[in-house]
Chain length 402, copies 2
């Protein structure tokens, strides 16, 4: 087992990144109050939920977080936290680990409060990750040709005008947004602040793999960032929590195309919760891929934007720095708000996704993969059993495909 | 010269309709204060701008309307007001004249205040012109196929749901809107409240003439309405003032497609000034015909709507009757706000349009055609002369085509 040097912030951040799933607000609260090092020390050395550190008790008065569950989520992962191998891997990748106390930490992410990331693993042009006029351009993977074209043009024009473009490296609108930005860097000015991709999986697991060409260009002049260790896979729930980083890192968010259940809408809602300006591009009322954009404009007070100048106007009224408010704890929904139709509970879905595709797994191993406590897994498995989605054999279970 | 019986409100309204151009607020103010009969009597019998009726002086304290100009606009048209022939013509057409004191007068038009119409000439199903849930669907003449399809579908769904649809009988979106409504009447329910067309020219001069098929169906189950005498031609400036009737008659206005200089935008702005809810349908950001809609949504607080249900929701918050505010006099712009690029002054354009296409005309005749005073025409002609747009010979002038 790796022995953490609590005086080494890189090791501390790396360990936190191994113990928790993104957006675990118990970890955010604990490290926010105690600091990452002291918080980690308490988890690894004592971790008695009946004896919470006095600072934590004082600062979180009235909050009844399930500390026991939290500790049970984190501790089983300690033994598997192969920090040394991860650092070696990161070095081979030419990457860098960033921790919150570092002077280059992008402070706008702290607007997420207890949902702020605990570490950022990066590859590419590290100097990009500074607070400045970043716009996120997000949207559907199943975008239309027109949507792709618009995203690329918007991105090109924005980068040309001195903005930076953030997206998620996915197919469709994300790809078009990154490409538009990279075109400025390759054809107009090699010094152009181009583009950052926030990834759901680790920076050694760039996904989707067929986007290799895009990722190579991103690693060359852009930046790829993730809050999970380099080797971790992009599990489905990590896409949803990743969206909050895109929203918080950017000073403004624009949805180019989105169906009514698109993850891009989650990004937009995160940005709205953070007080960041949000824009959406309209489209034909007959295009499913514009339904989400129209809904944002109609119902959420999102600004209709049709070109880069109008996107730039979203920044009017923002100060030189970022002025968005922090996420009010009571206003924040779970990071797992979008549940597919097959599951009516995000934890149930996460457990099901954490099961191997074929074959069986113990509750303990499922808990580690999902980043949940064994009792949370057990409760979820019971519900999945009733729903006919899993079979259970003693302390093991397996998926049933209907 | 026709001798008006001041006790006959039909004759009085018909005469007013002959003397003034639509939206002449001096006439609106005069008849609003004195009543149509007494106002007309003053104009025809005394008309000394130095001796305004005492009621008018008291009621319009502080307003310095150019009464002398107004009277000079109106009086030259008295001799040509062939009221008897117009009534005969109306009878042949099976039409009807409506005046403001009539119990069936659509009272919502009075929200226009001093810009309210002085008479309404109608053909078709007279019972339609009642205050109820009327929606105006307006938009570009040079609409896209998609826009036409949407307008027809919206209109069909709205009429099917019990709303009535108002438009302007023009090519493009207007036609599609009327057709969608008429389809409900012909295919679903013959009792469906279908559709009203407000015309810029007289109801005997239905324009464009190539829309004969549409107009025949409108006359059969819908209604055609105009504030100018039946034989008057649809001069260009009358389209702009006609738009205010569409806005005021309807409880809500929806722009389906509109370029950035479309007259439909004027209708939307009138509706906004009246406190009526306004919606606009989004479209591809690459479609010029959606630019105006996007501008309304972005800059004017207009609601994005994509289907009939959302249009219906525009009525939420409105009472059973119409609750829009009256046009505040100081907030109202001239009815002639949209000037084509060739003219920087709407009166200059109106004078130019009132000139015969070929050949010359006296200042006096131009004044009658344009509904302006001779001194207004004279000033405009001077400016047009300097601009090289007209030639002048003594008291006559003619167009120059560059």
């Amino acid at each position: 087992m790796f022995k953490v040097d609590y005086g080494n912030p890189l090791q501390v951040a790396a360990m936190w990144s191994n113990l928790v799933e993104p957006g675990d607000n118990a970890a955010g609260l604990l490290t926010g109050v105690l600091g990452q090092a002291k918080g980690l020390e308490w988890v690894l050395e004592s971790a008695d939920p009946k004896e919470l550190p006095s600072e934590l008790v004082a600062d979180t008065e009235g909050r009844k977080l399930p500390w026991r569950q939290a500790i049970q989520r984190w501790l089983p992962r300690v033994a598997e936290a192969n920090i040394e191998q991860q650092f070696e891997y990161l070095q081979r990748l030419g990457g860098r680990l960033m921790y919150p106390q570092h002077p280059d930490w992008p402070g706008q992410l702290n607007d997420l409060g207890e949902y702020a990331p605990l570490a950022l693993w990066m590859r590419g042009n590290f100097e990009l990750a500074q607070p400045r006029e970043w716009v996120s351009l997000v949207g559907a993977r199943a975008s239309t040709n027109l949507g792709d074209q618009l995203a690329a043009e918007l991105s090109f024009d924005l980068v040309n005008a001195g903005f930076g473009v953030v997206s998620g490296g996915a197919f469709g609108i994300d790809t078009a947004a990154h490409r538009g930005a990279l075109t400025v860097a390759s054809q107009v000015s090699s010094e152009a602040l181009a583009t950052i991709a926030f990834m759901a999986g680790g920076v050694g697991q760039l996904y989707p793999a067929s986007q290799l060409d895009l990722f190579n260009r991103l690693l060359d002049v852009g930046l790829v960032v993730s809050e999970v260790p380099p080797s971790w896979r992009p599990a489905r729930w990590r896409f949803l929590s990743r969206n909050r980083l895109i929203a918080a890192f950017s000073a403004a968010t624009v949805v180019v195309e989105a169906g009514v259940r698109s993850g891009a809408l989650a990004t937009a809602h995160r940005a709205l919760e953070l007080g960041r300006p949000v824009g959406a591009v309209p489209g034909p009322v007959t295009s499913q891929m514009s339904f989400g954009c129209h809904q944002l404009i109609r119902e959420c007070g999102v600004t209709l934007v049709t070109n880069a100048q109008q996107v730039g106007e979203l920044f009017l009224g923002l100060g030189a720095g970022l002025t968005g408010g922090a996420l009010a704890s009571e206003g924040v929904q779970s990071e797992l708000v979008f549940v597919s139709d097959d599951f009516n509970n995000p934890v149930h879905e996460r457990v099901w996704l954490a099961l191997p595709k074929y074959g069986e797994a113990t509750f303990v191993s499922v808990a580690k993969v999902a980043g949940l406590s064994v009792s949370e897994v057990s409760a979820a498995v019971s519900a999945l059993l009733v729903a006919g989605k899993v079979e259970v054999f003693g302390d093991k279970c397996r998926r049933i495909y209907s």
